[in-house]
């Protein structure tokens, strides 16, 4: 097994699939020669040629629409939107056109597309480069939403996404690209979309998170352990479909939960998770489920970014609150 960081694992997933299936194509702004602004696609054009891996003009809606048109003609596009803030330009094509192709055509056509985009805070990037916009996608019927938290999952989930006949919005946390290395198998393997991962077992409280927040949650759990509190941490891995069964099983054990998201608090993924917990596990709860999230402001300039983002301290405080309820 090789040691890879998340970016290398993502690149490896694309390499494996470009090799396996000639219908897989990769395109976006600057993905070719330099391999993207984060080098996530580095070397792929050299290996697979300009016909398979190519730069597009600077136009996100057209990148999305090109993917839709090619998708209905049998290709399997991986379309990169350079930074998350630019998905607004492509939202019609991603969330309306691709996401409802199967519905509009009564199943005649589909959108076997992966829309990849980097996102996520804590890196002091320019405005609109790091926002957590997954909530917009989650509100959209017909598109899957996947956010890996580690290199192994990233590769396996991305391979699943590329093979999926439905559109997948695949969000890659900027702060995880180079954060650490882990064992990643060579060649093909998949991680199923729609299955959460219990990354740390515990019996007192469940902390539900995804993306970078999984790591912040684990750190919080380590801190809490010192005080004798055993927190279970669940990595959602995919937001659509959401693995509510794993969450409910955990709550049946711990009877308490909090949900952590980087995104602004209101009406986001955490709110949805809590609503589903209410529907499926209310009688197992000893306390209300709390959210730890960014405040409802625009994502801030770098100056206050660190304070704005959910931290170990804020997670620990929320855990204390549900334990003390």
């Amino acid at each position: 097994m090789a040691q890879m960081n998340m970016k290398e694992a993502i690149r490896d997933a694309m390499r494996v699939e470009l090799k396996r299936d000639t219908n897989v194509l990769l395109f976006g702004e600057d993905v070719g020669k330099v391999g993207g602004v984060f080098r996530a696609t580095e070397g792929l054009q050299a290996e697979f040629g300009e016909d398979r891996v190519f730069d597009t003009p600077l136009a996100e809606s057209a990148i999305g629409g090109l993917a839709v048109g090619m998708g209905i003609q049998g290709f399997r596009p991986i379309a990169e939107i350079q930074f998350v803030g630019f998905i607004y330009e492509a939202m019609d094509q991603m969330f309306i056109q691709a996401a409802r192709m199967r519905y509009r055509s009564g199943g005649r056509y589909n959108s076997p597309i992966v829309f990849r985009t980097p996102f996520g805070g804590g890196v002091k990037a320019a405005e609109l480069h790091t926002d957590s916009l997954e909530g917009l996608a989650v509100q959209t019927p017909g598109i899957k939403v996947v956010i890996p938290s580690n290199p192994y999952d990233a590769k396996g989930l991305l391979i699943s996404a590329i093979r999926d006949n439905d559109p997948v919005f695949f969000m890659e946390h900027l702060n995880l690209y180079h954060a650490f290395r882990a064992e990643v198998p060579e060649g093909e393997y998949t991680v199923e979309i729609g299955k959460a991962n219990v990354v740390r077992e515990g019996s007192d409280v469940t902390i539900i998170a995804y993306g970078l927040m999984v790591h912040t949650a684990v750190k919080a759990a380590d801190e809490l352990e010192k005080q004798g509190i055993k927190a279970e941490v669940i990595d959602l891995r995919s937001l659509v479909p959401l693995d509510i069964d794993t969450i409910v099983a955990s709550i049946q054990k711990t009877n308490r939960a909090i949900v952590v998201q980087e995104a602004q608090k209101t009406s986001g993924v955490a709110a949805e998770v809590i609503a589903q917990i209410n529907e499926k596990a209310i009688l197992h709860l000893e306390a209300p489920v709390l959210r730890v999230a960014g405040p409802d402001t625009v994502y801030p300039f770098a100056q206050v970014e660190d304070a704005w983002l959910p931290s170990v301290a804020r997670i620990s405080a929320a855990v204390q609150k549900v334990l003390d309820f």
Binding site: P57, G65, F75, Y103, K144, L242
Partner: protein, 359 residues
């Protein structure tokens, strides 16, 4: 002091163009060099389709008033643009239509009852048969322009000698997607034809308030693709222009923007009132340009068409529309379960659970 090296004009210049016509208003060939090659049978077939479509449009408006159709955008006046442009294609060319472009889909092979089902909001309307190469009509103005661009790129990559064609209106040519699509097609040299049916209005907004461009066709210049302007009430001119564009596409010469100057007689949809924004003078000016009258005169002069033919086709069209609307009405209603199952290839658990609420 630096010397002025040249006195070339540095301001980009463009000039107005003259739209291509083949037939005069009296149905005489005024531009024989541009006459498309067509057999007598083909000429009759084109007339048949135009008369059929006019009748179907009349019937559809009535069916709409009776509540038997849903959203429907009338097409009368635009038969030459719609039918001519489709007629110029091969069966395996791919059409990405806007909401008004139902005739092209039907003449390209979509069963009429499915077009009615689409209008009635039934999913089966969009379930295009395998051997028919079209998408269902697009509601978001401009989105289909990008789909055609993607389809064209697919053809190019697969080395297939096919072209994609897409339609929008003069209003649609103001959308960002229109520019993005043409620019991609220019940069990648794609076999795609962008047809703008300039019928003078976007709902109620007249062309003059839509853009200050000399013509829609001029917009091709910025994308580095070919742009042409055509008399869209002259079916022979339309066929010629689209055939040329398709040939260019097939030969690897890239994309073409075709502006078809046309006129819709009825309102934008069934909901608006033309008297609020159009004048009688304007309507009178367009009336003699009617594609059926003009092409009909040409065919009559060749002894290929008569009033009896028109009457016969009208009867046939009425009967077909009646039969097809009944067929559409007989299709089993959509269900919420079916709708839920159409969101993903395999319905995820949360949607399976939501289905239970509707059983």
């Amino acid at each position: 002091m630096s010397k002025v090296l040249s006195k070339l004009p540095y301001e980009v210049q463009t000039e107005p163009v003259t739209p291509l016509s083949v037939l005069s208003l009296d149905g005489e060939v005024v531009n024989p060099d541009e006459m498309p090659e067509l057999t007598d049978d083909q000429l009759k077939e084109i007339m048949y389709r135009m008369v059929f479509t006019r009748t179907w449009d009349d019937r559809a408006v009535n069916l709409g008033r009776q509540g038997r159709l849903g959203f429907y955008a009338p097409v009368s006046g635009q038969e030459a643009a719609m039918i001519g442009s489709e007629y110029a294609l091969n069966k395996d060319d791919f059409i990405c239509p806007g909401y008004r472009d139902i005739p092209q889909l039907v003449w390209h092979g979509l069963p009429l009852y499915q077009a009615f089902l689409y209008s009635r909001g039934h999913q089966h309307g969009g379930q295009i048969p395998e051997d028919v190469h079209v998408l269902m009509p697009q509601i978001i103005i401009g989105a289909q322009i990008l789909h055609a661009t993607g389809v064209a790129m697919a053809f190019k990559k697969k080395n297939e000698k096919r072209v994609a064609i897409t339609y929008t209106g003069d209003g649609g040519s103001s959308e960002g997607d229109f520019y993005e699509g043409m620019n991609f097609a220019g940069a990648f040299k794609l076999p795609v034809i962008y047809v703008v049916q300039n019928n003078g209005y976007a709902i109620t907004t007249p062309y003059a308030k839509q853009t200050a461009a000399l013509s829609v066709a001029h917009k091709a210049l910025a994308a580095g693709i070919k742009g042409v302007q055509v008399d869209g009430m002259d079916v022979l001119a339309v066929i010629k222009a689209v055939r040329d564009a398709a040939e260019r596409g097939r030969n690897g010469e890239g994309a073409t923007l075709i502006e078809l100057l046309t006129y819709r007689y009825r309102a934008h949809s069934m909901a608006d009132d033309t008297t609020k924004y159009r004048t009688k003078d304007e309507e009178a000016e367009w009336a003699p340009k009617d594609p059926l009258i003009r092409f009909g005169k040409y065919l009559e002069s060749k002894g290929l068409w008569s009033e009896e033919d028109t009457a016969r086709v009208k009867e046939e069209a009425k009967a077909t529309v009646n039969e097809q609307i009944k067929k559409a009405e007989a299709v089993e209603k959509m269900t919420v379960e079916g709708l839920i199952d159409s969101m993903f290839e395999t319905t995820p658990q949360h949607l399976e659970e939501q289905k239970a609420d509707f059983q």
